[in-house]
Subunit: 593 residues, 2 copies
């Protein structure tokens, strides 16, 4: 019995209308991706997610991971579930066929990834990190490294772990101290890393660690950091496993959430130095990291969507079953779904999760276009869009995930605060996504200080032009959709004004501009979400006009877009004073702050 | 060593300028309350809170409560801390002298109560519930009940517990089933109650349960519920303790937070019926409950203020100590307090907690005025203000508490997600306050469906008139404060418009009006907070002009008011479409929701 079912109709709708999968699969790279294949992939993933992963979510939270004699035992059932995942070929669905993958669009893989995270966020982290390792090796590994490690990482027979953080080096990786000493064809790595997700576990016989460290001649700061491949078990020439490398998990963190995923303190080189190999060029390790940044941040943003969906499903199920109180105007006690404020809460979860999903799938599809569009200008446009929106997807969606998880607790009332209900777990699990893979504040800093500043807002204005075109479509549509125009138009204008303001400000007083970056990112998320909800409503309207597909679904989509416009989009212009108020933040007496 | 220190300068400022303690203590009832006494009370409370209660907060979270053979063992140190609390006479500070109390203003007791909750929310719950029992007995108890129970409850030698909720009767108490059978001069109570905070513990030799139950002849629904006093240990005529009553704690809830406070499932009458006595009139138990509602809701709202303060203090300490990254424009790595977005986060916690504190103390002072103003019209005005603002204090402040606790985690980055830091505990503890003592949705329903509707908005308009007068004062002040006018004026106008809109709507389509009640309550909280921040800024400006008091504090208060205006108050008008959008909520296809 499962308490999660993938929202397949909604996912198909967003894939078709927002990610524009029909157009995407006309690209040469995706010629093999037929509608039947898409259905088969979604159906298969939904089975594994609903029947295998979701039922382990609560038991995994309770059991957590245990470290004994250097060995991490994951919760009951997780190892077997992972084996099923690997056997099903799920790990490599989005990898190119020449890398041993199935070459499916990232947009489709994103829908699948949402299911894993909805079903079991702790479990889903493991493949996310393996995929980061895969991307790094594809882009920067030697022929030999690729030969030995890639095939097993691609299938998931081995997993990957990213070793970045040290106690003194969190958001600021430039401060890290782990050392790499050359020794023959390899290096000896010494140092301690913290917050290493799935740094040790019992899923697979080997774990491939990618470790940031400094060479002896490294310059100080961020330009002196190199990337190393450090396997848990050394691999012989023939691919068989050899000796244990000099690295170990020394402790597990006791965390607020995602209990079933081991978060390790890793020690490298306690017995003289872990053997590792340089990946990419010396001192260019942080640059190499950018390779996997966009996909990894998209994945974490997707966790926000996923937990918002899971919370929505749980809140809805509870609201349908729980009879409490007589709603105003009713004759008798009724399910709380009939109470006005419970409806508002459910709709807020639904509307924000739909908008965030649309933005995530849209951005994932843009990564496909950035690689595979035949015309260079179209690839470049898509890449600009990806670079602009990735921090928004990461930060805005994870904010939404946490809000929805909190709303689900609220719908449950007192029961929501009791751990047995499971609502509290989603709330605890959702909290981490605002932090890892670059805190949401770091995302906002990236958006304003890099993405806006480096092209002087060109990519943002390009997006705003597209939004205005969509507003034009609304203007030409029926009365119902025209109601979306006022808040949408005001939102676009606010985004336009805020972009111009922050660009000017960043040139003159960058700290003051950055003090407005988080509300600016929120503004962009809200308006971009409103844009895609408007596009969704237009598509739903077309389906209604044509009598095509599920008419009730289409009507609900339009009603959800209206709720989004009234409750979320309408708040966008009100963010301007905060965006512009950086001086208030920076001038505050630091000793009294 | 403590990691909490009561913000005494801020508390004094709010007591003096917002609660207007100097005027309050001119009332006859408070003639004995000298400025020295106020200082002594605040200093004494700060010592107990900082030195005794705060150090137990984290250990209490880890240990939790244990139920063994019907006995609840609270965490190490709690029992002793409670003894110190009783010995210090803290329990009765706000009780009238004729009830054995010290007769201090509720406004002052509110500052003290904030300290208990900041230091140790789990601990602070126990006195809160005792005080509810005291209020009920004062208002509705017989002479005999008062003689036997009141003195010991007043001092805290015995504690009180409120037994309302049953599994099928949460927000809707009308559905409760616990029975009371007459037997001689008393009744036999039978039934099960859940979510009973401090229903069983090891602090005191006796616990006085107040239990809602139905008499045999009770009509169905809310008009058939009576209130009973049911002591854990029966009390002999001479006041000594007699036999054990037929009630017991059958289990403790496993909760998201407030682990150190026992949340009990209580069973009454397993061996034939617990002996109890009727309090107040038959079938009028819910009405009796209203007696303690305002103070209890104020106390829970205060928990929001308290945890926002605690989170702010922890976030600030971390931001000062943690060196990470080079802030834009700086030469070297610096404490993260220098990073623009960390400053924004700290200011958001500071501004919202100050506004919520101001509103809570203001409302507490109004409860004093409602009792003790010499002129009846002044008492009635104060009572209208209390009735209007109590749901706002409860709901808005607890929202703020949770937001601040989440922001504190964010400031800590990865460390915030690790339980050892303690940031996660505040986040977990803060979550319950949005639920108990009437969910925040129930508060909003009370605000719109009762408080607005019953006087057709008269009390709300009365408040708006006062806000406009304050805006006039801003207009007459210096340039710095005049900057607050635009967002404040727009906020007042939005509140005025929303009030008129919901009043009309409630008459015609109450469900649609209630669907906008939560954003309406938020609007009122934001604008009322803005009003009191404006009043605070005006008071600070006067102090600057006079060269009176701590000038840096006064400047910081004005800067905080500006931050509040730009980041919080400016968002108020944007809530109008959500407030007005009830039809969107109510017309949504229920089967698809």
């Amino acid at each position: 019995m499962s308490d999660y079912a993938a929202p397949l109709a909604e996912m198909r709708f967003v894939l078709d209308e927002i990610a524009e999968l029909p157009a995407l699969t006309k690209l040469d790279a995706f010629a093999q991706v037929t509608p039947d294949l898409v259905d088969a992939v979604l159906d298969g993933a939904q089975k594994l997610a609903g029947e295998v992963l979701a039922p382990l979510n609560r038991s995994g939270d309770i059991a957590g991971c245990v470290l004994e004699n250097g060995i991490v035992r994951t919760p009951k059932g997780f190892r077997e579930a992972y084996a099923q995942y690997v056997e099903g070929g799920w790990n490599e669905i989005a990898l190119d066929e020449e890398q041993g993958g199935q070459g499916l669009p990232q947009a489709l893989a994103t829908a699948v990834s949402e299911m894993w995270s909805s079903a079991n966020t702790s479990f889903a982290l493991c493949p996310t990190l393996t995929m980061s390792a895969v991307e790094l090796l594809i882009a920067h590994g030697t022929v030999e490294q690729k030969r030995i490690y890639l095939p097993k990482l691609a299938t998931g027979e081995w997993t990957g772990a990213m070793n970045l953080t040290e106690p003194q080096a969190g958001s600021d990786l430039a401060a890290l101290r782990t050392r790499a000493q050359p020794e023959g064809d390899h290096f000896r790595i010494t140092g301690q890393k913290i917050f290493i997700t799935y740094g040790e576990h019992d899923f697979t016989p080997n774990i491939v660690h990618l470790v940031l460290a400094r060479l002896p001649d490294a310059p100080a700061g961020s330009r002196g950091i190199s990337l190393f491949l450090v396997p848990k078990i050394l691999v012989n020439e023939d691919g068989s496993l050899g000796a244990r490398n000099d690295l170990r998990c020394v402790s597990l963190e006791h965390k607020l959430g995602i209990h079933a995923s081991p978060t390790c303190v890793m020690s490298f080189g306690d017995a003289g130095g872990a053997i590792g190999w340089l990946v990419g060029e010396p001192h260019r390790g942080l640059n190499a990291m950018f390779t996997m940044m966009n996909r990894a941040r998209l994945d974490v943003g997707l966790q926000g969507v996923a937990l918002a969906e899971r919370a929505y499903q749980q809140g809805r199920a509870f609201a349908r079953a729980r009879v409490q109180g007589r709603p105003v105007g009713a004759d008798a006690a009724a399910p709380i779904l009939q109470h006005p404020d419970v409806r508002r809460m459910l709709l807020s979860m639904r509307a924000t999760s739909e908008a965030a999903r649309a933005l995530a799938y849209y951005t994932a599809a843009a990564t496909d276009r950035a690689r595979h569009e035949p015309v260079a200008a179209a690839r470049a446009l898509a890449q600009r869009r990806v670079d602009l929106l990735i921090p928004v997807v990461k930060a805005w969606s994870t904010d939404i995930g946490l809000e929805a998880a909190s709303t689900n607790i609220q719908i449950h009332g007192g029961m929501g605060f009791i751990e047995e209900t499971g609502a509290a777990q989603h709330f605890r699990d959702a909290r981490i996504a605002l932090i890892y893979e670059g805190t949401n504040g770091v995302q906002a800093q990236d958006l304003v200080g890099r993405k806006l500043a480096r092209d002087q807002g060109a990519a943002a204005r390009e997006l705003i032009v597209e939004m205005r075109a969509c507003d034009g479509e609304l203007a030409a549509s029926s009365g119902e959709l025209a109601r979306l125009r006022a808040p949408f138009g005001a939102g676009i204008a606010a985004l336009d004004a805020a972009t111009a303001l922050l660009l000017d400000r960043y040139a003159a007083a960058p700290a003051s501009a950055l003090a407005g970056s988080v509300p600016y990112l929120r503004l962009m998320g809200i308006v971009a979400g409103g844009w895609l909800m408007a596009k969704s409503a237009l598509a739903a309207e077309r389906r209604l006009t044509r009598g095509d597909g599920d008419q009730r679904f289409a009507k609900a989509k339009i009603a959800t877009a209206r709720f989004y416009a009234e409750h979320i989009l309408a708040t966008a212009p009100a963010l301007l004073p905060a965006i512009a108020g950086g001086d208030t933040v920076m001038s505050f007496d630091s000793e009294l702050l």
